[in-house]
């Protein structure tokens, strides 16, 4: 029997995008729904995201944003290297921290750092950044095959699903294993031409 799962990342308080994605995934017959973290930030209504995740029984991996908000840390731990990025990120983080309810913070603390499942006979590992670090950026152009092969072997996965960078890409490695960055739905990748991108990654057997 065939099975379809839907995996997405980066909600960033965009509950409208989340609603659209969940409806789209369901419409396409996705059974299990997974979110790879970073629920808050940037959007004006952080608390509107949580009821939707519960309603659709989305399984959520903890992102760095969720970890920071959950544990009331001083910043988002996004791992930016440019002070300009940190300056703007802090404004958004402080707002999100102030507008996330205690009950939702408590829930954020319970989220797992990774989820493993089997899909089409393959070992699937879902993380926010990378298997070894929640805020490691796996960009397409800076994640070479030998490095990814090492990670997948070490963490015993055939398919690695991640987000954090917000830019979707996927690659089959020489071993036949696969890495998929599912992108971000709340602030989807765009190259300035307004076309956006496919906000959801649906895998089907």
């Amino acid at each position: 029997m065939s099975k379809t799962i839907a995996v997405f990342g980066g909600v960033y308080s965009n509950y409208l995008a989340l609603q659209a994605v969940l409806e789209d995934a369901q419409g396409k017959g996705a059974g299990d729904l997974y979110c790879l973290g970073d629920l808050g930030g940037f959007g004006p209504h952080p608390d509107r995201v949580f009821p939707l995740l519960h309603e659709y029984q989305v399984q959520v991996v903890k992102g760095n944003y969720d970890h920071s908000i959950g544990y009331d840390l001083v910043d988002c731990g996004c791992g930016y290297t440019d002070p300009r990025d940190n300056y703007y990120a802090q404004i958004s983080y402080d707002y999100t921290a102030k507008n996330t309810s205690e009950i939702n913070r408590t829930w954020l603390r319970t989220l797992p750092d990774f989820i493993r499942c089997q899909f089409a006979g393959k070992e699937v590992l879902m993380v926010h950044g990378s298997p070894r670090r929640m805020n490691e950026f796996l960009w397409e152009s800076t994640s070479p095959d030998p490095f990814l092969e090492k990670l997948l072997e070490r963490y015993e996965a055939d398919i690695l699903l991640c987000t954090h960078t917000g830019l979707p890409w996927q690659r089959e490695l020489p071993s036949g294993k696969r890495v998929i960055n599912v992108g971000a739905i709340g602030r989807p990748a765009n190259d300035g031409d307004g076309s956006g991108g496919s906000p959801v990654q649906v895998c089907s057997r």
Partner: protein
Amino acid sequence: MVTLEQKRQHPKVALTDLDELWFQVAGTLCNLACAHCFISCSPTNDTHKLISKERMFTALEEAKQRGVKEYYFTGGEPFLHPNLLEFIERTVEQGPLTVLTNGILITDRMAQKLAELAEGTPYSLDFRISLDGLTPEENDEIRGKGTFEKIIRSVKRLYLHGINPIITVTEVREGMGAAAERSKFIELLRTFGIQQPRLKFLTPFQIGEEAKRTSGYAPEEFVYEGDLVPGEDEWLQCANARMITEKGIFPCPILINHDDSKMGDSLTESEGAISLRWSACYTCHVSGVTCRN
């Protein structure tokens, strides 16, 4: 409880993962002789010779086996190496590469070739160009007479060919890394038509020429057991980087003129932990600086 005896020891940092591999491509040979150079590179310094093809290609093969994440070429001035283009071509086949340069030797023809190489690889090919001031007076005091204009010319040339270099600024004057000063560099780069300027600021190391320019390290400026904060032994650069010169493998790009920091001749021999026993380690500990992008 840290005892006085332990206090005199230096902490050790284990190699958690070899993510960054540095190549001292041009050794200590450089077309410039900057006043702040921590390894005193110059047109006549051959302490570390140009890297040989054999060492380069052997190391690249080893690096592939070990799943290295990113590569860096530095010197001296990498564009003095006659085989640089071949090295770049081979390296970007297996991972992202950043070349650290003063940019001056990048001709129009060379910029064109670099752009073609960048276009032809799935991995990123970046160039870091050093600039140490906003004006010819500020920069040339450090990098040499006439260098400001030559550097700017190269920056514009690369940009024209579709390469947006990372401008690397060493904080040779107080406050250069502060937000207001950074903004001035961004504004300067925008006047050249660069819409999204890329900048990296580096803390100077008080060794080599820089020790002569300033006062060098004070006798107590070392890292001692108990000084590291939680997690620091994982984010210090030596926890995930190594440097290859024609002489062998070193813990990081900064320590190559400390012969006693040499770890061996192959990457396998450089897997061990290193002791933070050099005064330059104090700068990484205190400022959190890293040579990576």
